[in-house]
Symmetry: C2
């Protein structure tokens, strides 16, 4: 196994480690798109140019800095096997586009995984800071510092009128995308989610599923992010998003209280069945695991479980994914065997705690 | 509450008390149809004639005999409330037709519930003997003795050529219907059930669901009974049925072994999910309860549970029914509240044992 991957997998995914939680916001993320001046964007770059970009970014990341060297990890994507690539995406350290990049690509990860710099994704650099809970301010401070440090080493493509230049015009200007992942079972179960999503969209924000665009509302999880990157300051973008998130958290909480008060047995039934299935099944798909784990997360947040904490839920949330599952078993497995193994993982973890 | 019903409900339903079981046959039943000579069949009887029939049968049953007086219980159907009537059908001591009879009707039940005599169902008398497991021989000995004893007291309608006369020609002759209730999850899960049912039908036997004709295969339960009552001796009818039952039991056992060997995880998953749902849900319909309890029964028979015995399964099988459920709660409840109460019953019973 790649020694870096091995080191990563010794710890829980940092974006899910326990943080002071409002019970709704799972994680916060800010990423900045940057490109090197005078070098073609990755889509147009030759293999030699791509390799040079990887080397330059690797070199820039190699001094003690925000990204946290010497503990930081550098992953040359080509050197990883399929399970290892998947594991990086499951920890949200690499995108699907990065791990399938046709040209040399890489990712630099800080020791605690809170910072990552993807190289040769859509842009030369995609830096991100990712934290558990609702912590956009902290993400912003940290990524601004990282951006400054890397900017000292690298010559970022910049236009005085447009701001940072990016491969896709939707990222032009700040190159900033801030997003929060929210768990909204209350709004889903009470039928209020469609109106909520509609309202968020009208405010110019994007709502996506856990696996990005088109992944629906699997596990009652929603990622809400800014769409506008041009013509506004980073602080203003983040403050507008934060205000909306605060409001959605409040809606979700009210929906949960209302369900508990007015439809208590439906809520208990939903949570109980999810728990009963995960604790006793012998075949479990990713989708069913995420759906049922959502029910358990809701139960934990509502204090319905005595012996089960949010730490177990968060741990299972990452460990259930195909890459983690297969790496743990040290076997590349067909889907049906993954389903059998996933069921065993849940039976074991949930029985320990019951 | 009717004191007789109260006494019945102090004990588990006798047809489900633990008996040496083959793991497939739930219960065996033989009933005989008899009518009083010179009296119109129930459908054509006046209320006065119906009352006279009830009195005559009650009187005939009132001496120490097979039916077990003085411990036997007499139920005047009109005197029972809806929940009590349901409870009698759930213990298989009365039929749906009996409890909705437009004329005075009754049922006489032996102390241990193994014998019952319905009065003014389709025929004046429908006597039955009901035992747990595959015990048709014992049923036959007992009901033949009961028939003899009642025949000494009552003048049964009889024709030298046709045999016993009955309201419906399908019962003519012996008036005998023998049936065994089988639990066939192995044949269902392995997809062999349709061919099996087809084969049984070709042998001239009837296959019905747990609630009689048209009730499907709820809970993987099947009642198999003779159709022919005329032109064959009682012993011959019972022997033919028994031979078929023995064969189906063998098929079912083979199907279970095959599933365990060749599709073990599907079987474990089926059983585990049933258990997880019943142990953790907060709303449970009759149908879902029966379906899931079937999974648990299979698991118990295959030795998959350490702390759960067939006694609990059998107890729940009767207690989940609407009449028993409402009588236990001492409340007539709307369906949704029955579902909530039923879920609580399962959570409590299954957690006691886990």
């Amino acid at each position: 196994m790649n020694p870096g991957i091995r080191r990563l997998l010794q710890n829980p995914a940092s974006f899910l480690t326990s943080a002071p939680s409002d019970g709704v916001c799972i994680s916060s993320r800010i990423r900045l798109s940057r490109n090197l001046a005078g070098t073609p964007f990755p889509l147009a770059a030759s293999p030699e140019e791509a390799v040079r970009v990887v080397d330059e970014v690797k070199n820039a990341c190699s001094r003690p800095s925000v990204i946290g060297c010497p503990e930081c990890l550098f992953f040359d994507i080509e050197s990883l096997d399929d399970m290892e690539k998947l594991a990086l995406t499951e920890r949200r350290l690499a995108s699907a586009d990065l791990i399938t990049s046709p040209i040399p690509a890489a990712v630099e990860v800080s020791g605690y995984e809170s910072c990552a710099v993807m190289v040769n994704e859509e842009d030369h650099l995609r830096m991100q800071v990712l934290h558990p809970g609702f912590r956009l301010e902290e993400c912003w401070k940290q990524i601004a510092a990282l951006d400054d440090e890397l900017g000292d080493e690298l010559d970022f493509a910049w236009d005085d009128e447009l701001g940072y230049l990016t491969a896709c015009p939707t990222n032009l200007g700040t190159g900033l995308r801030a997003s929060v992942m929210l768990h909204l079972p209350g709004l889903v179960l009470s039928g209020e989610i469609d109106a909520t999503v509609h309202g968020i969209n009208k405010l110019g924000l994007a709502v996506r599923g856990i696996y990005g665009e088109g992944s629906g509302n699997l596990g009652h999880l929603y990622q809400i992010s800014n769409q506008v990157t041009l013509g506004e300051s980073e602080e203003s973008i983040i403050e507008q998003l934060s205000a909306v998130i605060r409001q959605i958290v409040e809606y979700e909480r009210r929906a949960r209280v209302k369900l508990l008060r007015e439809d208590r047995f439906s809520l208990l039934d939903h949570v109980g069945r999810a728990y009963g299935t995960l604790q006793n099944c012998y075949r479990l798909s990713v989708n069913e695991a995420l759906e049922s784990l959502s029910g358990i997360r809701l139960g934990v947040e509502l204090g319905l479980f005595q012996h089960l904490g949010i730490g177990t839920v968060n741990e299972l949330f990452v460990e259930l994914a195909p890459g983690h599952l297969q790496i743990r078993s040290e076997l590349a497995l067909p889907e049906d065997e993954q389903n059998i193994l996933r069921a065993k993982l849940f039976r074991t973890k949930l029985r320990e705690r019951s």
